[in-house]
Each structure stands twice: as C-alpha cells, then as structure tokens.
C-alpha cells in the first residue's frame, strides 16, 4: 500500500514520534511502499538479555510498534506460541503449533530481515556441535536463515562480536564462538566469512543494546529511511554500527552527568560517591555511544550515573578490551595513553559535547529543516570550539 503522511506519522508514532524524527530528521516521505515486513529472530549462545531489552522499548510499547509498522514477527523462540514437536523422529502438527515447521516455511519464503541474537558456536573442530537444536547445529540453522535473508541485523555483543562467549579463556579456541560479521575485533573471523555468505549486515552493539537502537534501526529500514544496501556505507561505521547511535565523534563521557567533577579534577576512589569515576576505571572517555544523551529504561539513567564505571559494552573487544573494570585505565597501560593525553582527549570531548548542546537547542528552535540545521550546527560547533581553544591556550600561557 502507498503510505501517506498520516500513515507515516502513525507508524513513526509507534516508535515515539519525537524520538524517531530526532534520530532520522524527516523530510516526510512522499510515497513509498509500506508492505508487511517479516522478521525472523534467532537465538544462539546468549542470555536473552537483548530480547528482554527489546521488550523494554518503544513508546507506547513494542507490540504496538510492530503492529503500526506492519512488522510480522515470524519467528522468535521466546515470544511465539510454537515449539518443536517430533513423534518417532518425525516433525508433526502444523506451523501453527510446531516451530520447526514454521521455521522451514518462513525461511523458504525468503525476503525477511534476519535478527540474530547470540554468538554462533563453531566448535568443536569446526563442526558447530556445541549447539544442536532440533537435530541441526545452530551453525547450519544460521546458514539457512542467513542465505535467504534480505538483511541481517545482529543485536547485542554476542552476535556482533562474540561478546562474553569469545572472551579469553583456556577453552575459548575449543568452543570457537563467532559473531556474525566479526569475532571480537577480527573482521576475517565472522561466521558469515566462515560460511562464505555475503549479505548486508547492521550491527547493534551493546550488552544489551538499548531498545531504541534496535527499534529505531528496524523502523528506519521498514520506513525506507535507510535503504539497504545502498545507504549502509554512509550510515554505518567501520564496525557496521549505525553512526547515529554510535557516533564516531562523540563519547559517553561528553555528556556524563558526573562530567562536572571530571572537569574540576574531583574523583571517587571508592564506590558509593557522587564524583567522577575515572579512577575507578570508567571507560566512558573511549566509548562511542549515545547512552548519556539517550539514557536507559524510561530515559532516566546510565551506568556512571549509578556510580559504576562505564565498561564499554558496545566496543568490539568487549569484555577483554575493558578488563579489569575497576582499575584506572592509566594503570592498565592502554597503548599510547597516559593521563596527559587522556586529558587532551577529554577536552576535545567537551567541545563535541558543546556541539551536542547546540544541536539540541537548534532542534528545539527550528524543527525539522534537515540540511539547513546541520549547516548551522556546524557553524555553532566551530564557534564554541574556537572559544574553548582560545581559553585553553591562554590557560597554558
């Protein structure tokens, strides 16, 4: 069906209109196909935290969002009614009750968005037999589902980069868990590369990902705001994460509610205080995500706000690249860093933060003027940056 403005806004409303429009500033779509979108959601080596997080999302809620966006959740092991049923080894009943039959039917129909939650076991010895479901390895299930998908969205750190499954241990190589397109920071070792499948991939990192990151990305694809695959090189970063949620030029530290303490050099050294958590190992100065602007669960908090250092759960190397969590990064000897360079990075960060504030002010003032606003925003950032730089130089003299 053709979508008019009213239908579009109704669909966007399901995602929280202001949220969506803020994220994908809309020059309202003139006309586009708005057919049913089918989603197949599969679970590998995971904790279901990503699905739990999904259920925390959307305004008004995720079920209504799916309804308005005309999304049909074709397969999801946690939420659907079906289960796998075999009698004397044969699949029985119909796809209305049997998830194995349902899976075969939806895969055969092709053209769905495949959402992958959890890592994919390749071990032992490349067989994938550390996870066998319905008599098939999950590696094979993933292969079938990936081959017929029009787009793969990997949600959560386990699916994007292997996550905790791929953390360093004595049995890591034996288990050989893989992410969809990466294993930790290695782009050669994704399961797609292993299987020789080429498909467009969007990674929604995070342990778990923010529900907005998942829903707004799916919404943007469904509503044609992101055209697959043409737009992907522009909207994704080198880790295939949407830049809008994982901005290359912005870190969590920029908008941290404890930022004022950092700027004054006031640090907590034991938990339970209210000051900057840098000396307790906070990774926010290195972590590219919009947590501090968007905030979590009802949009009211984020980890450092609750007194716990950011552990960079959206970074490709998580958790190994963030451990130990509670030690100042300086102590750990992260290559090329010491407190001086970090302080400079941090000052650079504050300029970006000023830019973000300017962005918000403009968004309030100008509504949705797209390009024009961006240009103004650029000027304003330049202005503020100039000011800061001058001040800084004076201070040094």
């Amino acid at each position: 069906m053709k979508m008019d403005r009213r239908t579009f806004l109704k669909a966007v409303g399901a995602l929280g209109a202001s949220l969506f429009l803020q994220t994908y500033r809309s020059d309202i779509v003139k006309a586009l196909e708005f057919a049913e979108t089918r989603i197949v959601w599969i679970h590998g080596g995971e904790c279901t935290g990503c699905s739990e997080s999904l259920l925390n999302g959307g305004e008004p809620d995720v079920l209504q969002a799916f309804d308005r966006l005309n999304i049909r959740l074709e397969y999801h092991e946690l939420l659907l009614g079906q289960q796998g049923i075999y009698v004397d080894g044969e699949m029985v009943n119909t796809s209305e009750l049997n998830s194995e039959i349902l899976f075969e039917e939806v895969i055969e129909e092709e053209g769905y968005i495949l959402v992958v939650e959890g890592a994919i076991a390749n071990g032992p010895k490349g067989t994938g037999k550390y996870m066998i479901l319905g008599g098939k390895t999950y590696k094979d299930i993933f292969r079938e589902a990936a081959e017929n998908a029009s787009l793969i969205v990997a949600v959560g750190q386990c699916a994007t980069n292997g996550g905790v499954n791929s953390a360093d241990s004595e049995i890591k190589d034996l288990m050989d868990f893989r992410g969809v397109a990466f294993t930790m920071e290695d782009g050669e070792k994704g399961m797609l590369q292993e299987l020789g499948i080429e498909k467009p991939v969007i990674n929604i990192n995070g342990c778990p990902p923010h529900p907005d990151w998942m829903l707004l990305t799916l919404g943007a694809v469904v509503l044609g705001k992101i055209k697959v695959p043409d737009d992907l090189p522009d909207v994704l970063d080198q880790w295939l994460r949407p830049k809008v949620f994982f901005p290359p030029d912005h870190v969590i530290h920029d908008n941290c509610p404890r930022r004022g303490f950092y700027d004054k050099g006031e640090f907590d050294t034991v938990v339970g205080g209210e000051k900057c958590l840098w000396k307790l190992g906070c990774k926010a100065p290195y972590t590219h995500a919009d947590c501090a602007i968007r905030r979590w669960n009802g949009y009211h908090s984020l980890c450092p706000q609750s007194g716990s250092p950011c552990i960079a759960c959206v970074s490709p190397g998580f958790p190994d690249s963030s451990r130990p969590f509670f030690q100042e990064i300086e102590d750990v000897g992260l290559p090329g860093t010491n407190i001086d360079t970090v302080a400079k990075v941090a000052i650079g960060g504050s300029l970006i933060a000023a830019g973000a504030h300017a962005f918000r002010r403009l968004a309030m003032k100008n509504g949705h003027k797209g390009k024009e606003r961006e240009d103004e925003l650029g000027k304003e950032i330049g202005k503020e940056a100039g000011k800061e730089n001058n001040k800084d130089e004076k201070g040094d003299q």
Partner: protein, 595 residues
C-alpha cells in the same frame, strides 16, 4: 510405545529438549532432560580481578542478571572479609533490587512464557464440549493469553490482553530497577562491600510511584482483590486451613455468579490468578467449586517417589532489623525468605551448604571424578564431535547440564521450594489439601500458584524496604581495595527467581581469581540422571503424566503434548544459567580455608 520429543521447548531462556517414551494410554513412562548448548561461560574469569565478577557473571542470564550479580557480590563480600560490615542500607538496596527483578521475572513467566499454553487449541476443543460456559472460558483464555503472531486455523488472533499487559508491567519494573541500577538487563549497583549508588529521596519517591502502578496491575489484572487483603488472609492467615478457605470462598463467590452469567472477564472479578486457580485444578475447580471442566494441572507434574526428591532453598533477602552485615552461610531464619531443605514427604530440615555436590556421569564433560563438591569442580567440555550424541539413551551422556544434588538427593528449586521452606500457609495448606485427597501434594498447579504467591509476598516486603527501612542518608558501601582479596575464598548463597543460586570464588596471592563456580537453579531442576542413575526433577515429574490436555480428556494426541509443555515450563527453565560451564578454575583444587 511412541517416542515424543519436544525440541526445542521454546518460551524459556535458552535451548532445551525433552525426549519421552509414551505408552498406548498416552502416559509418559520415561523422560530425558537435555541441555543443548555449551557456553563455557566462567572460564574467562580465571586470572582476573575478582571485582569484575559481579558485572560479568550477570551476563550468564539476561532474565535474572540481578540474582547473579548479587550472588557474586555476596561471594565477594566474604572474599574481601567485609561480610560483617556491609551497611544495613546497602543490604536494603540489594533487597529492593532483587525483589523487583523477582517480580518482573515471575510476571514474564506466568503470563508470557507459561501462560501462553493456556491458549493452546486443545483447550478450545476441551471447553468447547461444555456449552456456553465452556465457550466463555475458552474465549477468555484466548483473549488473555494469545501470544504475538498467533494463528489458529489460518486466522490471526490479536495479542492477548494479559500477555501484553505483563510485558508492559515488566518494562515498568525494569524502569524501577534502573532508577538505582542504571539499566536493565545487566544493571550495575552490586559491588563488594555494598552497592555503588545511594538512592536520593527523589529516587525513593519515584520508586514508590512505580510500585503503586504495578500494584494497580496486580489488583485489577492478576488478583481481583487488593494485594494487602490477599496477603493478610493468606501469608498471615492463622492456619493453612484458613488461608485455603479464604481463596476457596472467594472462588466460590465468583463461580456462583459466573455460572449464571457466563461472564469470566476481569470486570466480573476473574483476575488471572483466580481464573487459573479455579480452572487449573480438578480438585478445586470440578470437585469443590462445581465447575463443569478443568485443565487438571493438579494431576500432573508430581513426584512418585518421595525418597528421590527434595525441595531446597538457600534463603534470600537480608533482614534489615539485623543491622549491618550478614551470615554468608544463611542459617535458618536469618533471611526474610529463609533457607531450608524440605524432604520428599514435605518435612522441613535445616539447610547445610556442605551437602551440595554435582555429578557429571550423564553430561558431556571429561573428568576423572563423576561427583564433586562445588569447591573442587572442574569443567572440561567433551572435545570430540562424534561423542556429542543425544540419541544414545539414558545410560549414556545426553546433556550439557550437570546433575547437582543435596546429600545425594536431586532437588526442585524455585518459588515452590521457597514457599515450603517459609511455611507459607496458603501453599502448605494447598499441598495438604491435594495430598489428603489422593492427588500429588506437589504438582504443576501448585508450582504455578506458588510463583504467583511469591510475587505478592515479595511485593509486600518491597513496600516495607522502600518506605520504612531505607534511609537515604545512610551508608551504602564499606571501602575495599584489591589487597584485601589475597589468598581468600568466598561463598555467595542467594535466590534467583528460578531458585537457589550459589557462587563460589577463590583467589591466589596476587588477589587474582583461581576458582569461580556458579551452581544455578535450572541445573538442579533440569538435571539429567546423576551418578546413581536417579533422574533429575523434571525427568521425575514427567513420568506418569498423561501427555495430552486435561489428562487425555479428549483422547491421546501425541502431536500436541500439552502435558509436557505445562510441566516442563512450570519450572521456568533457564538454560543459559544451567549451562554456563561451571568452572573458571582450571586445575586449582586446594582449599584455602574452611568456611
């Protein structure tokens, strides 16, 4: 004999399979419980900073991360030698944190994971035989519990109102959790020596506001009476008989009115709990209330041999009136929901953590010993792909789940065990009622009512913690540093929504982790056979069950084994927890000190 396999059993956390042998009468004669994945979770904590454990172990499970982080925090308290000093207000915050998670997890389970089976078409066929009343009941079940993307005979069914409402309430509870814990799942907050955040007065106000909104749902959707009235007349009833009578009288009133009106809606007073309480049980629904039909869940999911099953609780929620610090061994009566071991004949005994051990005789691991205490556990997954074969029968290895036991006895864990250990009058009373009338004293119906009852028990405690016990100007952590964890050990005994959860940790001279072990509830509940060949709790509970709806009331239908779905899901299985590979240990076996 027919082989009926459910693979996967969906609407649980993780990947799980059940194999059964079913005879011509549709009765299950043998069952095998199989965990289908290896995760190798804890090995990566070895050689690391122990403080990371509270944040990392919660990533075992996205449904009950809170429980893992708090079990780890308990283990760390002892490891750092500060368990006597954790400030009272930090303990209260931990209580609130866990309490909200328990309610959220139970709500999701009762409505979304388990409740969906009440919309199985078998019940359309069953209740369809009972005229307008039966049809009204089926319409109500479908209207409440239809899951997302549900189709019956090609017709799309709208998402159930109770299913949808539960998702909304779960989300609300997660928002409440993140007021202090930053986000959910995988909150922060739990930390050695206390918590990372002291709530402000504003936080407390907001918490209370969330709380009352959730209680509106409990009153209007779940119970049909106020939670206070329910708790006063059940948990605080003067005898088990009185608690049962309160519920029965309420159900009788509803039944008398609705058998005339054929209105079984929420508006007519039929909250989700009363509806299940009446139509779920043959004894209560058909025999006592005079309903025309029921699902007969009280005939299913019991244990036939009281000598091979027990009910175990480690205890949970510190008592604020005891002030700072707590005893990590969880002695009787030291926690709000106390520790206890209830034997197969329902007699309560004192809990002793030294009686816990694990068997790998039927699991895909390599070890010279088939039984070990948690402190000595190892986990080496079978490296040979040809050895990973689920079809070799009960004598062979067939699961990634180990088989824990208490003094050699497999145990059921979870809300039912906790309500028995707490001697909740309603649950004790119902168990007696069933036992005295020739039903299994413990059954699938009671398991679900115990979960609902625990929501109310915990909710009433949360209100006290938030409004009475929590002092925002109190202390929320004792200072610690890494050197305090040198050559030490710690044990964290706690309760996840699904049951008793234990974390064990040891460190070397550099304060780095040498051993980490988690023994989790679903490992107990879904265990395969142990070294002595005794089946695990779910395996025992399935044997003797009829496979189809309402005790095969409409005949035997092997292709829709509702009996397996109800009973297996009633344990709220969590496979990510059950198979996390217990052992970050490597080969370190030396005990450092005796706890």
């Amino acid at each position: 004999m027919v082989e009926v396999t459910v693979d996967q059993l969906t609407r649980i956390e993780g990947h799980y399979r059940i194999d059964t042998q079913v005879n011509e009468e549709g009765v299950i004669t043998e069952a095998q419980s199989m965990g289908l994945m290896l995760r190798g979770f804890e090995r990566f904590l070895q050689h690391q900073d122990p403080r990371d454990a509270a944040l990392l172990t919660q990533r075992i499970c996205g449904v009950c991360p809170t429980s893992h982080s708090l079990a780890a925090a308990n283990a760390l308290d002892q490891l750092f030698g500060v368990e006597d000093a954790v400030p009272k207000d930090a303990l209260v915050v931990r209580n609130i944190h866990q309490g909200l998670n328990t309610i959220a997890s139970h709500t999701t389970h009762v409505y979304v994971l388990w409740g969906t089976d009440l919309a199985n078409p078998a019940y359309r066929d069953l209740f369809g035989n009972f005229g307008d009343t039966g049809k009204a009941v089926w319409d109500e079940l479908l209207r409440r519990y239809a899951p997302i993307s549900y189709r019956l005979n090609g017709v799309d069914i709208p998402v159930g109102i109770s299913y949808a409402a539960a998702i909304r309430e779960k989300r609300r509870l997660h928002e409440a959790i993140s007021l202090m814990g930053a986000k959910m799942p995988h909150s922060v907050l739990a930390h050695v020596g206390g918590v990372t955040y002291g709530p402000t007065l504003a936080d407390i106000g907001q918490l209370a506001s969330y709380y009352w909104k959730v209680m509106d749902f409990v009153e209007n959707f779940a119970l049909g009476v106020s939670p206070e009235t329910w708790i006063e007349n059940t948990r605080f009833a003067s005898s088990p008989q009185k608690a049962v009578n309160f519920v029965l009288e309420r159900l009788q009133e509803l039944t008398d009115a609705s058998l005339v009106s054929n209105d079984f809606s929420h508006a007519a007073g039929w909250g989700d709990v009363p509806l299940l309480a009446a139509f779920g049980s043959e004894l209560i629904g058909e025999e006592l209330l005079g309903l025309p039909a029921s699902m007969k869940l009280d005939r299913t999911g019991g244990y036939s041999n009281p000598d091979t099953i027990g009910y175990l609780a480690y205890g949970v929620f510190y008592k604020p009136e005891n002030g700072d610090g707590y005893d990590p061994t969880s002695p009787p009566g030291s926690r709000v929901i106390p520790s206890g071991y209830v034997d197969g004949k329902l007699k309560l005994h004192k809990f002793d953590h030294r009686k816990i051990s694990e068997s790998i005789a039927h699991s895909f691991y390599v070890d010279s010993e088939s039984d070990r205490f948690p402190w000595e556990g190892t986990t080496d997954p079978e490296p040979d792909p040809d050895e990973i074969d689920y079809s070799r029968g009960t004598e062979s290895r067939y699961s990634w789940i180990k088989a824990p036991h208490y003094d050699g006895i497999p145990c059921e864990l979870g809300p039912l065990s906790r309500m028995l250990a707490m001697e909740d009058p309603l649950i004790i009373g119902l168990a007696r009622l069933f036992g005295d009338n020739g039903y299994p004293a413990v059954n699938t119906y009671l398991r679900m009512l115990a979960r609902a009852q625990e929501i109310l028990v915990v909710a009433s405690e949360i209100l006290k913690w938030v409004t009475v016990d929590l002092d925002p100007s109190g202390k929320f952590a004792v200072p610690t540093d890494l050197s305090m964890a040198k050559d030490s050990e710690g044990m964290g005994l706690w309760e996840a929504p699904r049951g008793a959860l234990g974390h064990w940790i040891a460190t070397g001279p550099d304060s780095k982790v040498t051993l980490y072990q988690a023994v989790v509830p679903s490992t107990w509940n879904l265990a395969p056979r142990n070294t002595a060949g005794i089946p695990g709790p779910v395996e025992q509970a399935l044997v003797g069950n009829r496979i189809s709806a309402a005790e095969n009331a409409l005949g035997v239908d092997y292709t829709n084994p509702v009996g397996i779905f109800h009973t297996a899901r009633s344990y709220d299985p969590c496979l990510a927890c059950a198979i996390h590979t217990i052992d970050l240990t490597g080969k370190e076996k030396e005990r450092v000190r005796v706890i």
